[in-house]
């Protein structure tokens, strides 16, 4: 481990981002913190005061269709050789990004200071995604049947 831990905090909505950057800096005052922000993001003076470096991603939004851009984002995350990769939501995409960053520690930090460790195991993200998607599809078809096969008789206004 290097003398100075390298931490990357991946951007989320501004209010949450500010708070988590502040929390990270308070808990790890000597770490080298990088804020990874979307292209064109206007970082505030408060945010700047807690980080050592700012890295802009290629785009401000990533869609499922443009897988190439997402791979370039993964490359960007790996290029930083971070010791710890922090995301603010434990969504599937954030899990993949954190897991693929190569960081030894991957975490999701919530606003109340709760830290959820994320698995770095190569298969954990796709397995979890598959499980979520399987359960999600069951839910969807259940809801679809309810919506399309069971009509609701609206109440007349009094």
């Amino acid at each position: 481990m290097s003398a100075r831990e390298k931490i990357c905090v991946f951007y989320s909505i501004r209010h949450n981002f500010e708070r988590v950057l502040e929390n990270v800096r308070k808990r790890m005052p000597h770490a080298a913190i990088t804020a990874m922000v979307p292209k064109g993001y206007a970082i505030t003076a408060r945010e700047r005061s807690w980080v050592n470096d700012i890295v802009e991603t290629e785009r401000d939004k990533y869609t499922v269709k443009d897988i190439g851009a997402f791979f370039r984002l993964l490359r960007l995350a790996r290029a930083g050789r971070y010791d710890r990769f922090i995301v603010l939501f434990a969504s599937a995409r954030h899990r993949i990004l954190a897991g693929a960053s190569g960081a030894r520690v991957c975490e999701c930090w919530t606003l109340d200071g709760h830290i959820v460790p994320l698995s770095r195991h190569a298969l954990s993200v796709p397995i979890r995604l598959l499980c979520d998607a399987a359960v999600g599809r069951l839910w969807y078809w259940r809801a679809w049947l309810s919506v399309h096969r069971r009509r609701v008789r609206p109440r007349e206004r009094r």
Binding site: R14, H15, N16, R19, G40, Y41, A42, T44, L88, F89, S91, A92, T110, L111, D112, H114, L129, C131, D132, A133, V135, G136, R137, W139, Y140, A143, W144, S146, V147, H148, R150, R151, V152, P154, R155, E156, R157, R158
Partner: protein
């Protein structure tokens, strides 16, 4: 009286208008001599929201801890019923909440209950702003449940199929809000309420015929926090400032219209600058300055520096607090004919109202105000008077709540 406030997504410091409204209502009623207690769902992991700073609230509060796994109809209504029963209120105000709210209303139906709606929650399970394809959706879940269920399912299909990553979708599934039984539950919940409070007459129209006691109660501001100041005296190269505040990054707030109108107006005259609470540096030009996000505590000096305020929202703003703040400071406002904004502003007296998307009209109104410092001053003074008479929190509470509580007294 002992008044319980129940909120399912409360935040403090406030992350929106709903908690701010609850805070001022509860505090105002406490100042009228009532015992007030807030019960809220403490659910930071589900919603990604901050912990509630209970020590900063002027009234006692109790947070009920939930996680995404425990935020279900099997747990939430019972948990609220237990703590509220222990406190024994005379009246329960059920405040902000989404799909879980009808369950909680039913669980507390043994009290006189009042439901406060902060947008158009009963009318749309997909988007409580009733905003679809950049316009107001004509449907109403209470009258067109099947169309609304389909619309909701289509909208959330991707997230549901991915395993419901978003808190709103999780709540939708946990409460089975897609099912016919949920529609029945919503109606039952409305039937059990003693009163429903909405912000404007559009909200009232949604509920008409489904509930007999729907009250229109506006929000408010503390007029003292937005003191009336004389309009800036401009001379020489000193440019008039047109201010747009609020969440300018939200497309439904109409920043796009301000860009179009500002550009067109600047071709004709260069005696103004538009300031917008947009992230710093974005879109800056000769006539446009992004001043970054400003919260409630830091906005007043900007109103004081401004000459005119503009609120060009596309969606049916339930209330429109930024217009009231500007009027309180004594500034004329140009607003779109939507939701509560058209009820707050008196056209030609405290400002101008233009039809939604009508760029020409907004440009005309801004030009008229830029041309006449006297008109700006007169409208600003009339706006201040209107706020003091109708929208000061003290006045809002004293006007609307004592008659309501009297009617609910045991």
């Amino acid at each position: 009286m002992r008044l319980a406030f129940v909120d399912l997504v409360f935040t403090w410091p406030p992350a929106g208008g709903a908690p701010l409204d609850l805070y001022h209502t509860a505090k105002g009623l406490q100042q009228l001599g009532h015992d007030v207690h807030l019960f809220f769902a403490h659910d930071t992991r589900n919603w990604g929201i901050d912990t509630v700073a209970q020590d900063k609230l002027p009234f006692p509060s109790t947070g009920l801890d939930f996680t995404p796994a425990t935020y279900t109809p099997a747990n939430v209504p019972g948990a609220f019923r237990e703590v509220v029963d222990a406190w024994r209120p005379d009246v329960v105000f059920i405040c902000f909440g989404f799909f879980m709210k009808p369950f909680v209303i039913e669980a507390l139906a043994h009290y006189p209950t009042v439901s406060r709606y902060y947008a158009y929650e009963p009318a749309c399970p997909r988007d409580y702003r009733i905003f679809k394809n950049d316009n107001t959706c004509p449907n109403n879940y209470l009258t067109t449940p099947d169309a609304c269920r389909k619309c909701m399912l289509d909208f959330f299909a991707m997230d549901i199929r991915r395993g419901a990553q978003v808190a709103y979708t999780r709540e939708l599934l946990a409460t089975r809000a897609y099912a016919p039984s949920y529609y029945e539950r919503c109606l039952r919940a409305l039937d059990t309420l003693d009163a429903a409070i909405v912000y404007n007459h559009i909200g009232k129209a949604h509920l008409e015929g489904f509930h007999d006691n729907v009250l229109v109660v506006p929000g408010g501001v503390n007029a003292d926090e937005f003191p009336a100041t004389p309009p800036p005296v401009r001379g020489g190269d000193d440019k008039a400032i047109i201010l747009m505040t609020g969440r300018a990054t939200d497309p439904s707030k109409g920043f796009g219209i301000v860009l179009d109108v500002g550009e067109a107006l600047y071709k004709e005259r260069q005696d103004f600058q538009i300031w917008v609470t947009y992230p710093d540096g974005k879109h800056d030009s000769e006539w446009l300055k992004a001043i970054g996000w400003l919260d409630n505590a830091h906005i007043a000096p900007y109103y004081q520096q401004a000459d005119i305020c503009v609120v060009p929202s596309f969606w049916e703003e339930p209330f429109g607090i930024v217009a009231v703040e500007a009027m309180a400071t004594g500034r004329p406002v140009c607003v779109s004919r939507v939701g509560g904004l058209q009820e707050i502003v008196v056209h030609g007296e405290t400002g101008f109202i233009h039809d939604r998307f009508d760029r020409e009209a907004l440009k005309r109104h801004l030009a008229a105000l830029l041309d006449s410092p006297d008109l700006r001053r007169r409208m600003g003074e009339a706006g201040r008077r209107r706020v003091v008479e109708h929208y000061d929190w003290r006045r809002v509470i004293e006007t609307h709540y004592p008659p309501l509580l009297e009617s609910l007294a045991p």
